[in-house]
């Protein structure tokens, strides 16, 4: 359904004749910080406490947000800490909408996690945050399979919650709808995010069965028990999200059963380079070139060796001509040992070297 009759694209292109070399949005955001699509932005409308250490942030995205996220995907959220934008990814917990005013992410404050603690405890409603478009393949197919199993631990519930809410919203749990089993491990009932809502959903829908395991008293999920928890698990499409050891055990269990095709896994924590050594494979995304490097070769030199048209200038870290976007991975500044590991961070290639595998946007 198209509602807009005003050709906004053309209006803004015409407006840019007045504001060149800037964009009209660069001025409009002075009136309302959400009136710009130069960088995706959102305003925190509400911070809803879920448990002692987790909260849901209700965010109203600004111009340019496409409302096309699929249930289970995550978005990036960027906030300035000490003047510098720090980015993290969180699963969207709200159901999908074609259009709408807000979306929600649910965040658990990690011990040692400065940013997550700030998001849970320090964020005032009204704060403007940067957003990154939804990503991820851990999603609910449309139409959903007839029988599903979710294996969830801790804050791994968030992407699954978006899937369940989407099913609920579409009225898919009714007659002839999918049959869903949810196993949810959490240390205590109090630490369970969305517990009340899950219990309510289970009560309302015959097609949803919730299995809770409180690991402080019941111990961790033993996959040998899966036959008891969900006897027909082999016939179900399975989604697993939770702490790394739990996921490792699940992956192994499904591999042994020869059912790896049935299993979808979402990991929250990044895996660090196995040997912790330096160097790795540099991938240049746009040119499709790859090169093996040691930890002493600068990214710039490596790119040149691989035949990539790297921008360069002074080659001593002063002119910033060589700056390129680091899509993923970690690089180390050879001058001072600082490491840069944020997705989509701009790095000076002439003075940095790879720490593990890296992908660059060039």
């Amino acid at each position: 359904m198209t509602i807009s009759t005003v050709p906004w694209g053309r209006v803004r292109r015409a407006g840019s004749k007045l504001t060149t070399p800037l964009h009209p949005d660069d001025y409009l955001r002075l009136l309302n910080p959400l009136w710009t699509s130069r960088e995706l932005r959102g305003r925190v409308e509400k911070v809803v406490p879920e448990t002692d250490d987790a909260a849901t942030l209700v965010i109203r995205p600004g111009w340019g947000w496409r409302w096309d996220h699929r249930p289970g995907q995550y978005i990036g959220i960027g906030i300035p800490v000490d003047g510098k934008f720090q980015w993290r990814s969180y699963s969207v917990s709200s159901p999908t909408k074609q259009r709408g005013r807000t979306l929600a992410i649910t965040v658990r404050a990690m011990p040692e996690g400065k940013l997550s603690s700030h998001l849970v405890n320090g964020l005032e409603p009204g704060t403007i945050v940067r957003l990154a478009s939804p990503e991820g393949d851990f999603t609910l197919p449309d139409p959903p399979p007839a029988r599903m199993l979710f294996l969830v631990g801790g804050s791994g519930i968030t992407p699954v919650m978006s899937m369940l809410r989407t099913l609920d919203r579409r009225g898919a749990f009714g007659e002839g709808g999918p049959d869903v089993v949810l196993h949810y491990s959490s240390p205590t009932p109090e630490r369970m995010i969305f517990r009340d809502e899950l219990l309510r959903l289970e009560e309302q829908h015959a097609g949803l069965r919730l299995h809770q395991q409180h690991t402080d008293t019941d111990g961790m999920l033993d996959l040998a028990d899966l036959d008891a928890i969900c006897p027909d698990w082999r016939e179900r499409e399975t989604w697993a999200c939770g702490p790394a050891p739990m996921l490792d055990a699940i992956v192994e269990h499904y591999d042994r059963a020869g059912l790896e095709d049935r299993l979808h896994v979402e990991r929250f924590s990044l895996e660090l380079g196995g040997d912790g050594g330096e160097g790795g494979t540099l991938t240049f995304r746009n040119s499709g070139k790859k090169v093996e490097v040691d930890g002493a070769t600068t990214v710039l030199e490596a790119g040149e060796q691989a035949g990539v048209g790297m921008p360069y200038g002074c080659r001593m870290g002063i002119c910033h001509t060589c700056t390129v976007t680091l899509v993923s991975g970690t690089v180390r500044d050879l001058r001072n040992g600082d490491e840069y590991a944020q997705p989509n961070e701009q790095v000076q290639t002439c003075v940095t070297a790879a720490v593990g595998d890296c992908t660059l946007d060039i």
Binding site: L18, L22, Y27, P80, G83, K84, F85, C319, T323
Partner: protein, 401 residues
């Protein structure tokens, strides 16, 4: 302007120079460590203020065209627009493109994609300025900022009868400064000598034409058209704002390397230059001027030219505190720290332009003598010199190997 070889010019031993380099590295590290939310707030606030001023100026001009407010609103609008353009080009654009704010990790205030409100495309500026000028500062034959290819600014440059026109060229350069800058990276001298790659030249020209056309359309077609019958006064007001910006940036930039005391260097200086020697060349080749906070912001912090050349990518709002430390180092090592009031610094640059329009023998040099007795030292051969800091990339390694 004596051509000198940095370490021979001064009385410093090689170890002194390396120690000075380490102390400057320490200043850089300290600032990098302490960049914080206040610095980010500074540039964000300044950008908001500048955009508000630009929009306000445009609106005032349009209002003057369509209401009875008339002349005062037009004059105020032109003044606001002029100041907005100056702020955008100097303290915001120039410094953002140096990467001074890249540390914020904000793509909207980043050297890789900033485009400024002047005729020269940012990409070409970053090459001609960030790389060529800042790397080869004041090295004759390498740094095109010495006279911008049209003025003779060093006694060592050969005199030519065409130099007699310098007073005129200078006036033209000052009033058309943004267009002079726009053509800067084309490198007129290389084109003259036929050394320029024609494909590259075509690409650059296309970039300049596109950017320049948009700039001209905006100031001399679109806004005048919106002003209806008053189109002529809007056009004049916009031209005034542009020329004011041209004159101001010209004056500030000529105060950076042309007052007496700022030295020029020969090509040999570059050979196997260490990082510390590079620092020293930046200090001896640059000149500061004094002024209040407002003057410094309006001049893009280029009154701290010495600090800017030592640390071109540290946030400009930190230069005042860096200056205190750099000045102390200059005293400690007995190195000149060239500084004076703006009018004197520009006066000296202007005198040099005039003097050098005629052959050397007609005038005398204004360059001061070295500060203390020069140590008699043979210039070391490459093999005897310390190699560059190895972590600086293959370029340095390739040369010093």
């Amino acid at each position: 302007m004596a051509i000198s070889d940095v370490t021979e010019y001064t009385h410093l031993s090689e170890e002194d120079v390396e120690q000075l380099g380490r102390e400057l590295d320490a200043i850089r590290a300290e600032i990098e460590e302490s960049r914080n939310a206040e610095d980010a707030a500074y540039i964000n606030k300044l950008i908001r203020f500048q955009r508000g001023l630009a929009a306000g100026g445009r609106v005032a001009m349009l209002a003057s065209a369509h209401t009875k407010a008339g002349r005062p609103a037009l004059v105020a609008g032109a003044a606001m627009l002029g100041i907005a353009k100056i702020l955008e080009n100097m303290e915001i654009g120039h410094n953002v493109m140096h990467g001074q704010w890249d540390w914020m990790n904000d793509p909207e205030i980043h050297s890789s994609n900033w485009e400024w409100d002047t005729a020269q495309p940012a990409e070409q500026w970053k090459h001609s300025h960030n790389y060529v000028h800042h790397q080869f500062t004041n090295v004759l034959g390498h740094d095109n900022d010495i006279g911008y290819g049209i003025l003779r600014m060093a006694r060592e440059q050969k005199w030519h009868p065409a130099n007699l026109g310098q007073p005129v060229y200078n006036a033209l350069l000052a009033s058309l400064f943004q267009w002079g800058v726009a053509l800067h990276d084309l490198d007129l001298e290389r084109i003259r000598k036929g050394e320029k790659d024609p494909k590259e030249m075509k690409r650059q020209l296309r970039q300049i034409v596109t950017k320049g056309r948009n700039q001209i359309l905006k100031d001399y077609v679109v806004y005048p058209a919106l002003s209806g019958r008053q189109w002529r006064s809007t056009m004049k007001a916009n031209a005034t704002a542009n020329v004011a910006r041209n004159l101001w940036s010209y004056v500030i930039i000529f105060c950076g390397h042309f007052p007496d005391g700022a030295l020029h260097f020969t090509e040999e200086e570059l050979e196997d230059e260490t990082r510390a020697e590079w620092y020293l060349r930046q200090m001896l080749g640059s000149a500061n001027f004094e002024g209040g906070r407002t003057l410094h912001v309006l001049s893009g912090s280029l009154g701290y030219q010495i600090e800017h050349h030592l640390f071109p990518d540290l946030p400009s709002n930190r230069y005042p505190e860096i200056a205190v430390k750099v000045r102390a180092l200059c005293e400690k090592y007995d190195i000149p720290y060239t500084i004076g009031p703006l009018h004197r610094q520009y006066g000296q640059a202007l005198r040099t332009i005039m003097k050098l329009s005629v052959p050397n023998s007609w005038t005398s040099s204004d360059q001061p003598e070295p500060p203390s007795p020069v140590r008699d030292r043979r210039r070391k051969s490459d093999a005897e010199r310390p190699s560059r800091r190895p972590e600086l990339g293959g370029w340095s390694r390739g040369r010093s190997a």
